[in-house]
């Protein structure tokens, strides 16, 4: 089964509270300085909506957002354009793009002290035709997800929780069982 439009969300713990609007100037700066290889178009703010997409950096092929959907804050990477290759390669591409964006944000002086939790990732397929969230699809695709997270989080291991609500998109949340650094994962995803 071909899984396209893969989204990856990296958890952003916010014990003291994080104001999503603080990301607006940063994302505008990314457009100004063209810090990413892809075409970035604009910044949309939905910070006024509870548990919503927050602040979205709109791109041509992909969007980046500081998203609090489901009450879970994180950086979400939404790959909109179809990609060639295997599902594993598409998982890798989205994870790499999301984690690279997290690293850039952590390094940004305007967002001092920001720390993403690379040990907690959500991966879902933003397409209900390709991957309806049914028991059959979950059964068919779970091994591929496990294989990917196994590879990503080796050697420490992980726990995987599939999204079971049929109205939500097919996907899962993976939690590494130990500490993981963005740098480590990016190194692995480079290959």
């Amino acid at each position: 089964m071909e899984l396209q439009h893969v989204n990856v969300k990296v958890s952003l713990p916010s014990p003291g509270g994080i104001d999503p609007e603080g990301f607006i100037p940063v994302f505008h700066g990314w457009i100004q300085d063209q810090v990413l290889e892809e075409l970035l178009i604009d910044v949309a703010s939905y910070a006024h909506v509870i548990n919503g997409p927050g602040v979205v950096l709109i791109g041509h092929r992909a969007d980046y957002s500081i998203d609090s959907t489901g009450g879970r804050l994180g950086l979400r990477y939404n790959h909109k354009a179809p990609l060639s290759g295997s599902n594993f390669e598409r998982f890798k591409q989205s994870a790499r793009a999301a984690l690279q964006a997290c690293r850039l944000l952590e390094e940004n002086p305007q967002l001092k002290g920001l720390r993403f939790n690379a040990g907690e990732l959500e991966l879902f397929v933003n397409d209900r035709a390709l991957a309806p969230n049914t028991p059959e699809i979950r059964a068919a695709c779970e091994p591929e997800l496990r294989e990917f997270f196994q590879w990503l989080y080796q050697p420490i291991g992980f726990a995987l929780e599939l999204e079971k609500d049929p109205r939500q998109r097919f996907g899962a949340r993976a939690k590494a069982v130990g500490a993981v650094e963005i740098k480590q994962l990016l190194e692995r995803l480079k290959g």
């Binding site: 396209q4 939905y46 909506v49 997409p53």
Partner: protein, 751 residues
């Protein structure tokens, strides 16, 4: 753009209403033809607008990043309209007639927002939905998925009849005359795609209201407005409408004029059709700034306009649909799911008590209430839409309405259920109090996504909202009930003319810097169906508007007379007093002292007006004949596709049909009511164009007309492959000749 577009088409095949499916297939073909350069860009622009596919800011490939204008290098070179790049994301507007929705429709809207947009559905001031940042190639599938739940995007934009709006409390309001919902729906259905509504110079917006005194229908600001009234004759009460025409906001607002003080229901549809025909025939086509019907009514005067409409009405051929809907008025009546009740006496939280006070409106049906779901800036997420769908199923008989204040109204809620309802809404982040009051600010998209936006209406609305939310319940009650409405420019999509405190975006150049400002418009009247428009004052820098709001509301509380409304207060104190109150706020510090004044709310880029583009509100004025010839061309293209698939008979028939429709396009230019009868069309064409030699090509004379006559003479005989091929080729030549004929007809005559 989406990998699953073909899959959706396959999956939904045969599951959509036939007419909607056909329309969407046609649009999809038009998208393909434009990509191949086979449709001219202006025609395609108006075509997509009439499917609700709208342009967005920066779609010309230019964006000022705060330092310089950057070129947005989209991969595709094609355009989807003049100066509008193919790959630039756009907006999809979705029509919601009378704001009426069910739970499944909410869920589908949410799914589309997640998969094709940015996870947000935006509710507009005309009860529509909008999805932003949608790719043009995904729009046919978006339309199919909407059609699968009975929603169309047809004529949501462009020079067409836009969404028919209606009071969201219709049928349950305490003091309405009668429920206007079935009438609004009937008009919406009747005018959708109606041939008489295809050649307007601009858009045409209808609205319905069940009473005169409330705001909910905003009839006074609409192109066509109907207010429910009754008359009593011989002891019997009869329903009717006060029919208004020619209202509108825009840069210069016009109040609607009374066309008929009592229009019987059976005359509603034919009268609207007659108005549309007069507007199509006499309305301005070249100067789009004067092309709305309000200008025609103003220029002719309401009496002359009325005479023309009545004359038209008499001449129109009859249509059984005019009255068919009257037999099923009861079908629209909503019923409660749960038994009536009383609000439980238990106190509840402070938030709940506030919500009860501002968001709950008792119905005229004892024991029931309407609960307004307040959406911040009209935005709602996909998860919230799913939660709302669950709430709709749990507390109502599967109905909900969007409102012109960019909210939702849940009707027929048993009063006994209110605490439970609030808990459910609150769990979804939808239980905020303050609906329809000071905090519930209306704003158009402004510079966020609109090509015409001058200042950030949503940015300002968000700022005012967060400031006022913390203190609104401590404010004087008179202030709590004021309305703030904000437009990003003078075109008034945020309806600023109707607000107590209205603002619209302007810019000023100060010391060589562009500075975002808002023009202050005070004392508009929201009630009485947008009873009167506000007074324009002066411009204030964007960053000083919150302070201006504070000062104006404080002065109102301090100095108002007992029961004095804000509009009366403003009228009494006058412009001079307002100027004196806010004068110091019209200035601003030097850039070096405080550069924040030189960027807009919610947008840290240094402000510029260089991103303003050509708007698509007016669309392109494309004559009906050009649309019809475009449709004939598409049929010829489809005929070729059928031939390639080996479907010879269908291909030949389609080629013939394309020729007849091209002929009809020319005939309709002279004979508006030409029926869809091939024999009649060919005969009319022969008499009007062939026999008069108007169709004759300058070089080959009447040759191409004979292609049509020969194809028509076949009278259904089967096609060989060669005959089908010839017919399609002849159809293409005939359509070209029809274009040539039309061009000769409209070319300026040599002196």
């Amino acid at each position: 753009m989406k990998a699953s577009n073909a899959l959706w088409k396959e999956r939904l095949a045969g599951k959509l209403p036939e007419e909607l499916a056909r329309e969407i297939d046609i649009f999809e073909t038009e998208v393909e033809l434009r990509q191949q350069g086979k449709i001219e860009e202006k025609l395609f622009a108006e075509t997509r607008l009439r499917r609700g596919v709208y342009g967005q800011r920066y779609d010309n490939g230019q964006r000022h990043d705060g330092k310089k204008t950057q070129s947005l290098k989209y991969p595709g070179g094609s355009t989807k309209g003049p100066n509008t790049l193919w790959d630039a994301p756009g907006m999809q507007r979705i029509k919601i007639p009378a704001g009426g929705l069910n739970a499944r429709q909410l869920e589908v809207a949410g799914e589309l927002a997640e998969e094709y947009s940015d996870c947000i559905v935006h509710v507009t001031t005309r009860q529509d939905f909008q999805l932003h940042f949608v790719h043009i190639e995904d729009t046919p599938v978006v339309m199919r998925r909407l059609a699968s739940v009975g929603i169309t995007t047809r004529e949501a934009c462009g020079n067409s009849v836009r969404n028919v709006t209606s009071c969201p409390y219709a049928g349950v309001c305490q003091d309405e005359t009668f429920d206007v919902t079935p009438y609004a729906r009937a008009l919406s259905k009747f005018l959708l795609g109606h041939p008489d509504c295809q050649s307007f110079g601009r858009k045409f917006k209808p609205a319905f209201s069940g009473c005169k005194q409330h705001a909910c229908g905003l009839v006074n600001m609409h192109d066509l407005g109907a207010i429910a009234v009754t008359s009593r004759e011989n002891g019997t009460e009869a329903r009717g409408f006060e029919l208004y025409v020619g209202g509108g906001l825009g840069p210069i607002p016009h109040e609607a004029k009374l066309l008929d003080p009592f229009l019987p229901p059976e005359e509603l549809l034919p009268m609207a059709q007659a108005i549309a025909r007069v507007f199509a025939r006499l309305g301005e086509k070249k100067n789009r700034n004067r092309a709305r019907i309000k200008f025609l009514v103003k220029d002719l005067g309401i009496d002359k306009f009325r005479d023309l409409v009545l004359e038209e009405r008499k001449a129109m051929p009859g249509d059984p649909r005019w009255t068919a809907f009257l037999e099923e008025l009861d079908r629209h009546e909503e019923k409660p799911l749960r038994p009536p009740g009383q609000i439980p006496p238990a106190a509840g939280s402070e938030k709940y008590q506030r919500w009860l006070k501002t968001n709950i409106r008792p119905q005229r049906q004892e024991g029931y209430a309407v609960a307004t779901v307040a959406l911040p800036l009209g935005d709602i997420t996909a998860n919230q839409l799913r939660a709302l769908a669950d709430i709709v199923r749990r507390f109502t008989r599967d109905t909900i309405r969007s409102t012109v204040e960019q909210n939702f109204a849940l009707r027929w809620i048993s009063m006994a259920d209110l605490p439970e309802l609030h808990r459910a809404l609150d769990a979804a982040g939808l239980g905020e109090p303050g609906a329809c009051n000071l905090v519930d600010i209306v704003a158009c998209p402004g510079t966020d996504t609109c090509k015409l936006g001058i200042s950030s209406s949503r940015g300002l609305a968000g700022e005012l909202r967060s400031r006022l939310a913390t203190k609104s319940f401590q404010l004087d009650e008179a202030v709590q009930n004021l309305h703030i409405k904000i437009s990003g420019c003078f075109n008034s999509c945020g309806q600023h003319h109707l607000a107590d405190l209205g603002f619209y975006g302007v810019s000023r150049t100060i010391n060589n810097y562009k500075v975002p400002h808002f023009q202050v418009v005070l004392g508009g009247e929201w009630e009485n169906n947008a009873g009167s428009y506000g007074m324009s004052m002066f411009a204030i820098p964007s960053k000083n508007i919150p302070e201006a709001v504070d000062r104006l509301t404080e002065k109102y509380v301090r100095e108002r007379q007992p029961q004095e409304k804000f509009k009366d207060f403003i009228k009494r104190i006058g412009r001079a007093a307002v100027k004196s109150l806010l004068d110091d706020l019209t200035g601003l510090p030097a850039y070096q002292t405080n550069p924040s004044y030189y960027s807009d709310w919610g947008d840290p880029r240094e402000y510029t007006t260089s991103d303003i583009g050509a708007g698509e509100c007016a669309g392109e004025v494309v004559p009906q004949v050009v649309f019809d010839l475009g449709a004939a061309e598409r049929e010829a293209f489809e005929a070729q596709v059928l031939l390639e698939k080996g479907e010879v008979q269908k291909a030949g028939q389609m080629g013939y049909q394309a020729m007849v429709h091209a002929a009809k396009a020319l005939v309709r230019n002279e004979f508006q009511d030409i029926p869809e009868d091939f024999e009649r069309i060919v005969n009319e064409f022969r008499a009007r164009f062939h026999d008069t030699q108007k169709f004759n090509d300058p070089f080959v004379g009447g040759k191409f007309a004979h292609y049509l006559f020969a194809a028509h003479k076949r009278d259904g005989a089967p096609f060989t492959l060669e005959q089908a091929q010839h017919t399609i080729e002849e159809a293409q030549l005939f359509i070209e000749a029809s274009h040539g004929c039309y061009n000769r007809m409209v070319a300026p005559k040599a002196p």
